[in-house]
């Protein structure tokens, strides 16, 4: 390991490597490709499957579904989660719903329409073949979940209910009240539990992957830490699947679970897996603002509130009067003013940026001026309190529990927050990374959402990857392994590649524990998060990103100089867990900023202030940037290599979005 306390110079830039192509997607008509791929994929004989071991890291929608399905197919699955139970993965917190092209409403929906909406919603930065497959598989997901007993909302006739979601004109979102993620996850968890009880899945809860074992260029296992005993363990396999979610917590304040982290994908990246579009992050406009400096987690309020709530701030900066004392003509309903056609229902990225702008002007409300009003007074007058209560009662209650303010009496305060990361490990059509034998599914990969994810599509993608896509493509890899591959039995702790990886992990943990500095892991995560939010958040520009690229290496060096981790490595030690995660954020953050700096266009969640239309809208540059940016790690402090995967659009024609 390099001396980590020496400040590495900021990236001098990056090098451009050979272009990248997805060689797995078959040719032919878009609608035929998945069928073709399933047919061409080699199969593993059912009798041989039990001799193949697959590691699955993570137990959310993608990981839980994959672990259960692979075990049902007969593979020997070894699965990990850092939580105390696989049922607690952060998919559980998803509220809204899951999209599927069932067309139960007979409202003109189809696989092709869902495909189109998703490509357009992603601002034309995703792969057509992947997205089309996602739309195809969506209908099977609903069937599968219903069969498992997922209690979706139903009509009085006993059939499934659906609702509409942002950015689309059909009603294709299936839901289970405001707890769709919970119910879908419990379905996957119960299927997984059945396999665990049957001995076909070896489950390791409270066990966190800290590195990837690569032997002869192939992913062959992981190094993990048992979080209860602190023991560093090696687990080997014939293939490794990462289903470890997104990296939103690099921003410190996000709607992600507190312990969600980027270590698995970042360590895989350091071992050779390309990381794609890391700057594509989604900011959700309606979160409860933080109440003070003590807070380290933000709570989302459903986007549906913008149907009836009016967003405003005082017209004059520094106006600290209570909202009810501010007369109508001294309020600025800025979204209605700037976007008369869409008003308060502009897409997430637009609403978020506008809120930041008015707060930057000193017109924000609430503690620290980091909030805007979402006012239901007009809706109550128009619809009556009872109607508002029926629609939003449970959300109002949740808001009141957290803020101690009743939205019936005083406007809600909301503020944007980091919510989802579209970027992730680069994968081909088979969901395989650039390290053979290493697959990435769910939010951990970059595959389907381009530069912006549509509402209710994360659950769809996680389950599509886990239940249907990976189980079909993984077999092809396992069936194609060369006969002279090092047998799994020989990849033991004495194997030099395993030894080296374990030693690196042990050294890192030892460095953290023995440093005896004076700053907590939380203080570094917070400082990094504030920097990223400022320079690589809702709006980005070259100067700010360059500033961040100078600051991050400085902060990283300071981390290794001043970090303090109390306690021992051979015990349950949450400070050590956190410090290790933060050390990886300090590396990932730099690549995010570089990716944002290099992409001199605005698209989806990535808004470069230099690239906007006359009316302040995001301006894409398809000539120069219609590609996936896949980054190769070349060493600590060394410029990474950019591999471009050009995007071809055969079916959808890229166009400029407009909401004014």
């Amino acid at each position: 390991m390099q001396d980590p306390t020496a400040a590495a110079p900021p990236y001098a830039g990056y090098e451009v490597g050979t272009p990248l192509a997805d060689t797995r997607a078959p040719d032919g008509p878009l609608a035929e490709r998945w069928n073709t791929r399933r047919f061409t994929a080699k199969l593993v004989n059912p009798a041989n499957r039990r001799n193949r071991t697959v590691i699955v890291v993570g137990t959310g929608l993608a990981g839980g579904a994959a672990g259960a399905t692979l075990a049902e197919q007969g593979y020997h699955v070894v699965q990990f989660c850092y939580q105390d139970s696989p049922r607690r993965a952060h998919s559980i917190a998803a509220q809204g719903g899951i999209n599927a092209a069932k067309n139960y409403r007979n409202d003109g929906d189809s696989v092709r329409r869902l495909f189109h909406d998703t490509v357009k919603g992603g601002d034309f930065r995703s792969r057509e073949s992947n997205v089309h497959r996602l739309a195809e598989v969506s209908t099977e997901i609903i069937d599968q979940c219903v069969a498992q007993g997922v209690p979706f909302a139903r009509e009085y006739g006993g059939l499934l209910d659906t609702r509409s979601f942002g950015g689309v004109q059909v009603s294709r979102t299936f839901y289970a009240r405001g707890q769709t993620g919970q119910q879908l996850l419990l379905g996957a968890y119960q299927a997984l539990s059945r396999q665990i009880a049957a001995g076909r899945v070896e489950m390791h809860p409270r066990c966190e992957m800290l590195d990837l074992i690569v032997v002869d260029g192939r992913a062959r296992g992981i190094v993990a830490r048992d979080l209860v005993t602190g023991r560093i363990e090696t687990h080997t396999a014939d293939a490794v699947v990462l289903a470890t979610g997104g990296y939103g917590n690099v921003f410190h304040l996000s709607t992600n679970a507190k312990n969600s982290n980027a270590t698995a994908i970042w360590r895989a990246h350091r071992r050779g897996a390309l990381l794609a579009n890391p700057c594509f992050t989604q900011i959700h406009p309606t979160c409860i603002p933080r109440a003070g400096d003590h807070q380290s987690k933000l709570t989302l309020m459903s986007e549906s509130l913008r149907n009836d709530g009016r967003i405003w701030v005082p017209r004059t900066p520094g106006d600290h009067r209570p909202p009810q004392d501010i007369p109508e003509d001294e309020r600025d309903y800025y979204l209605e003013r700037a976007y008369p056609a869409f008003g308060n229902l502009v897409p997430r990225d637009i609403a978020s940026r506008a809120a930041k702008n008015v707060c930057d002007e000193g017109r924000g409300v609430g503690p620290g001026g980091q909030g805007v009003y979402l006012d239901f007074a007009d809706a109550m007058e128009r619809l009556g309190r009872r109607a508002v209560e029926e629609k939003y009662g449970n959300l109002f209650e949740m808001y009141e529990r957290i803020t101690d303010e009743s939205p019936y009496e005083t406007p809600m305060r909301i503020y944007p927050a980091i919510h989802y990361t579209m970027g992730g490990l680069w994968v081909d059509y088979d969901l395989q990374t650039t390290v053979p034998g290493l697959f990435a599914i769910g939010e951990a990969n970059f595959s389907d959402h381009g530069a912006n994810r549509l509402g209710a599509s994360a659950l769809m993608q996680g389950l599509a990857d886990g239940y249907f896509i990976l189980p079909a493509t993984l077999g092809d890899y396992l069936a194609s392994l060369p006969a002279d591959l090092t047998p799994r039995a020989e990849i033991d702790d004495a194997h030099p590649d395993v030894r080296a990886t374990v030693d690196e992990v042990a050294d890192r943990l030892c460095a953290l524990l023995s440093n005896n500095g004076d700053r907590s892991p939380e203080s570094f995560q917070k400082e990094l998060g504030e920097l990223l939010w400022e320079e690589c958040g809702m709006a980005r520009d070259a100067d700010g990103l360059r500033h961040a690229l100078e600051e991050i290496p400085r902060l990283r060096a300071e981390f290794w100089r001043r970090i303090r981790v109390p306690g021992s490595g051979e015990a349950f030690n949450q400070s050590l867990e956190k410090a290790h995660r933060v050390s990886d954020y300090l590396e990932l953050a730099e690549l995010m900023c570089l990716d944002a700096l290099h992409r001199e266009e605005s698209c989806g969640g990535h808004f470069r202030s230099e690239s906007q239309t006359g009316t302040g809208e995001a301006e894409r540059d398809d000539e120069r940037f219609s590609y996936v940016a896949a980054w190769e790690f070349t060493g600590e402090g060394k410029p990474p290599v950019l591999h471009r995967e050009e995007l071809d659009f055969e079916d959808v024609r890229p166009s400029q979005r407009s909401y004014a």
Partner: protein
Amino acid sequence: MNAPHSTSDRTQPGATDDAETTDGAAHGTTDGAAHGATDGMELTLRIWRQPGPEEQGAMTTYRVTGISPDMSFLDMLDTLNERLIAEGDEPVAFDHDCREGICGACGMVINGQAHGPQPTTTCQLHMRHFDDGDTIDVEPWRAAAFPVIRDLVVDRGALDRVIGAGGYITAPTGSAPEAHATAVPKPAADTAFAHAECIGCGACVAACPNGAAMLFTAAKVVHLGVLPQGAPERESRVLDMVTAMDDEGFGGCTQVGACATACPKGIPFESISDMNREYLRAVRKGGRG
């Protein structure tokens, strides 16, 4: 003693075995831990500290200052922990993750009540429900089936094993019929949902004087049992889950009802009698359906 409270030892240790007292107000604060001591509440916390599963635990007293009423209970513990790290002490270990009341990771006994005085999870309990100057006892879940791992962290793996024994519908991926092939009457769907809301936090077990997991198990039995999809395994499910529940060392139900009072998701107490009825029905049918 491995657990601070086994089902047979249910005294309040906080009152008797204080091990040490640290007074935060006497110490300076460092980066990130600074908090104005002039405003906000001052509280005395008596927290169960136990270094490991095999080690002796004790209540330890801490004083915290500058606690905002808008903090969640876990924010308040974060503040304490930042200070402990700054002082070179080991922070208090507690499980937590989503902090939105849905993952079920957090849970502690606060002043003798599972999740504290409000009908919600510990992460959604806010400090405005306490008063300046209060003394608050904080202990881990108490149950024989939940051994302590460290401080306030317990092993709830037994709940996962109860689910694994039968808390599922066997529907291997790919085998599902069209979703609309079977209509589910809305009342059944609503009943299923109301029971499926369980977050598996274990508060019901912690609150029960017998350390029973009846409410938890019943929630799953009813959720799956009322759906037509769950009918084929209806008998084996309840028999196997109840057997697993007993094997894991959970106690039996004596109809106290503390479980339903503590449940942050409002799982109805009646679900336990529903499960007992299901059990009896399954036994009468000769075991397997």
